[in-house]
């Protein structure tokens, strides 16, 4: 018989690569895939990760598990991502970006000038449409939860909320230039966080009626916005 098992390769110092557990993990992707096959592998890693996140939760998610499910071997995964956090980072970025996309056409001067009732209706509408973005993505909720749960991933959510705030703030300022910026920014930011919280409630508790939640939250937000206009 020829070589059935190869001899153990010499290892320099296995500890070098293992972090002490205190530095944050690398989040950037590594090599970008160029060939078609590679792009498919890259995307399959992402979708598998999303899928598994919903099934086993972030705690039991591992690169080995992703590889097994995606039908590839670990070294293939490591070519593109340094660790599972980088995969989650990419998933989070995409999800946030898709949500923000739905907001851009709403955050216009014309919207900000709407009378209270119409304004509230428009808020309710964007609320429901961004809700659908999360619902339509497999494991979308769990990606959102992972962003919250992992310390090194928090900034993705933060940056996204910050970006949305600036988007809305710009439109608002164009409409009401006299309003105090700090005050406006805070109100907008809190409105956004409250709306996201309401989205989470809907996901966590399927008993709740999305339309009713959208209505109440929009009223709350609209009233505060109108108050802000007059200040």
């Amino acid at each position: 018989m020829t070589l059935a098992t190869r001899p153990r390769p010499a290892r320099k110092n296995a500890d070098d690569s293992r972090s002490s557990g205190l530095e944050p993990p690398e989040l950037a992707t590594k090599k970008a895939p160029t060939q078609l096959r590679a792009v498919e592998t890259f995307e399959r890693i992402l979708s598998t990760c999303s899928e598994l996140l919903a099934e086993v939760g972030i705690e039991r998610l591992s690169t080995n598990l992703i590889c097994r499910r995606a039908g590839i071997t670990p070294p293939a995964l490591y070519q593109y991502f340094p660790n599972k956090y980088a995969i989650l980072h990419e998933l989070g970025r995409r999800m946030m970006w898709r949500q923000n996309e739905h907001l851009t056409p709403w955050a216009q001067v014309a919207t900000m000038r709407l009378p209270e009732t119409e304004f509230a209706d428009s808020v309710a509408q964007v609320f429901l449409s961004t809700l659908h973005v999360t619902e339509d993505t497999a494991g979308g909720v769990w990606v959102m939860r992972a962003l919250r749960a992992v310390p090194s991933l928090q900034h993705v959510r933060m940056a996204s909320h910050e970006a949305v705030t600036n988007l809305v703030l710009a439109a608002f300022q164009d409409s009401y230039p006299a309003v105090d910026v700090a005050q406006a920014r805070l109100t907008i930011r809190l409105a956004i966080d409250a709306l996201y919280a309401a989205q989470e409630l809907l996901v966590d508790d399927p008993q709740q009626d999305p339309e009713a939640v959208a209505r109440v939250m929009s009223e709350m937000v609209a009233a505060q916005f109108v108050k802000l206009r007059a200040s």
Copy 2:
């Protein structure tokens, strides 16, 4: 020389005890400590867990790590808790309970009848006092985050928010019996979730001013409550 190393004990079937990864983990505590020394150990496990949660995050938290830091051996921990989730469960329960404690004296008929401005002020006050509860507990924020992140622990947060909702709802109904219950419950629940979201913002972003956040959120909530009274 006498027995330096003992012979390997026979193991029946190591797989029996290892879960397949799909059933939720047991959350109840095991034996309750009776003697003083045991109570101290029990409490040290809890406080060490809280401490480590803040340092390494839930992802790297392990029973072994807790034992090392707490100065006990694993079997001692396993006497009281079946796994790390049970420890987090207990920590979460305590934190939620302490927060709710601050709310009970507020959720009274007299409060509900306050005029809008005074009502808003009182909301701002409870908001800030519950915020301090989280801040004063070592690793308090991380306990909250763990409750969100771990699927099997979600119900602790949910149950707490539900309980708070009922508390406020009862006081509100006593004051305004004519108001539609479902409508009132939804408004209250969303207000609570929004206030918690604002708390998280303050924790995540130390730039934000707690007083300013408290003020804006309270105004938003108060306005909606007053609208509700008149319906």
